[in-house]
């Protein structure tokens, strides 16, 4: 696969190139791939692996020229996770970083635009983390609707 040739590492997983990288090496890899024809940045995903106490960031890129999809995978510790921002390589990465910061609490160094994206007035734990119990949250917030009061006049 072209991406594996370019980066000289990685394996094929379900028809896609899957490359594991260190956090510091991602920017170089993304720039190298961009020059090598992988000019469509598909998306940036985050996976919470609670058992191994890690976040996995997955950078998806696609090459129209080689018709190939590559996933760059980075593991970050769940304690104070931080990652260099790539918003200057592809503009839309900034938005994904904003969302992941909000939903998983990962810091992206160099991205100053960390305004809330989907949530408003949220002070709890980042909600997409696996240890955030959305059912408990729902019961606490929405199960406490006050009962209809009886009208004394009738």
């Amino acid at each position: 696969m072209k991406a594996i040739e370019l980066l000289e590492s990685g394996e094929e997983v379900h028809g896609r190139a899957y490359v594991k990288l260190d956090a510091g090496a991602v920017k170089d890899a993304v720039e190298k791939l961009k020059e090598g024809g992988f000019n469509h940045f598909v998306m940036l995903s985050c996976v919470d692996w609670l058992n191994s106490n890690e976040f996995e960031l997955v950078y998806h890129m696609w090459s129209y020229e080689h018709r190939e999809h590559v996933m760059l995978s980075v593991s970050l510790s769940r304690d104070n996770p931080s990652m260099p921002s790539l918003h200057d390589v592809f503009p839309q990465i900034g938005t994904y970083e904003r969302e992941i910061h909000e939903m998983y609490g990962i810091d992206f160094e160099g991205n100053d635009d960390m305004r809330p994206f989907l949530l408003e007035g949220w002070h709890d734990m980042p909600p997409m983390r696996k240890d955030f119990d959305s059912q408990k949250f729902e019961e606490e917030v929405f199960d406490s609707i006050p009962e209809i009061e009886e009208d004394d006049d009738e």
Binding site: H14, N39, H60, M71, P91, Q92
Partner: protein, 375 residues
Amino acid sequence: MNEYELFIGPQHPGVTGNMMYHLWVDGDTVTKAECNVGYLHRGFEKLMESRGWMQNVPLVCRICVPEPDVNEMAYSMAVEELMGWEVPERASYLRVIVLELARIAAHLMSIGSYGGSLGIYTIPQWSLGDRDYLLDIFEQITGARVYHIYIWPGGVRWDMPDDLPKLIEKTLSYIEKRLELYDDVFFKNRIFFDRAVDIGRIPRDKAIEWGVTGPNLRACGQGYDVRKLEPYAVYEEMDFEIVKYPELGKFDVLSDGGDAYTRMLVRRLEIEQSISIVRQALKKLPAGDHLVKHPNWLKWKAPAGHVYKRVESSKGEYGYFVVSDGSDKPVRIHVRGPSYTHGVNVAETILKGANMADVSQILFSLDVCPPDIER
């Protein structure tokens, strides 16, 4: 001149769905635009992590209202890839029929909203009315009008009724006739030329870098379509050409591409193309099963792995990134909606310098669907 701040939305004809744009305006020129989403955030992705593989099927379609089937398709493709299931050929053909009918319905809706934003209210009335005939077909095939829950991992839910091809053909020829009227009233209308040409231009050399996909990308002269790049279902067997700038058929090329005019014409021409694909699929439809033999519905365990599957929706590349650890529930499902780039970065950039009166047209011409930003 004083600068004013203006809030468009969350309820405004500029976008289908609840979404807000915060504009800074100098006179009637937009100097800065910020997209504000979150009104539709329902936490689908989080919810999917706590439900079984099969239980997610009725959920995914609800992510996009105008075209729910692409969600079912991409999700099913990802699960099939993990499970190693081969979809029966008949099911693949039925999937193509449903997906293309859904594309026609979504494009009609998009054209209708654009017409409405120009004040040609005949167009939304017509196109939503005509879309209803397609929903009638969906009701016959799938039992539901909007959320079909038809494409399942391993095939489709039911086979279609025997007499349905007749109804489909009747509807398709009706829509073909109607398209001529749409052309007379809208696509060859002076107002459309005046208000759409050179409006909301995406620079053609920037389109790919900005992550533009689908009709918006093809309007920039890049003939890329997932149906051709990574053919899924049976698109490889179908004979169709990618509609792209500057090949606009019987319509005049009035701009350098990438503008609202070209984007809307690409959609208009894709309706004809989808009609032809549905006809081909009906003609070639083989006999056979419509679903693989499944293990117990509620006890599927998908082998561990990372899968990304993409399909071509009416708005662009729709992708599902599915991660499994081998258990009966997904670890993570990330949905790539095409509007994520179109509605946020692209819109914020191209709205700069636009006239106030063109803002809603620009947004409609990008065909932004807020739920696939928020999921």
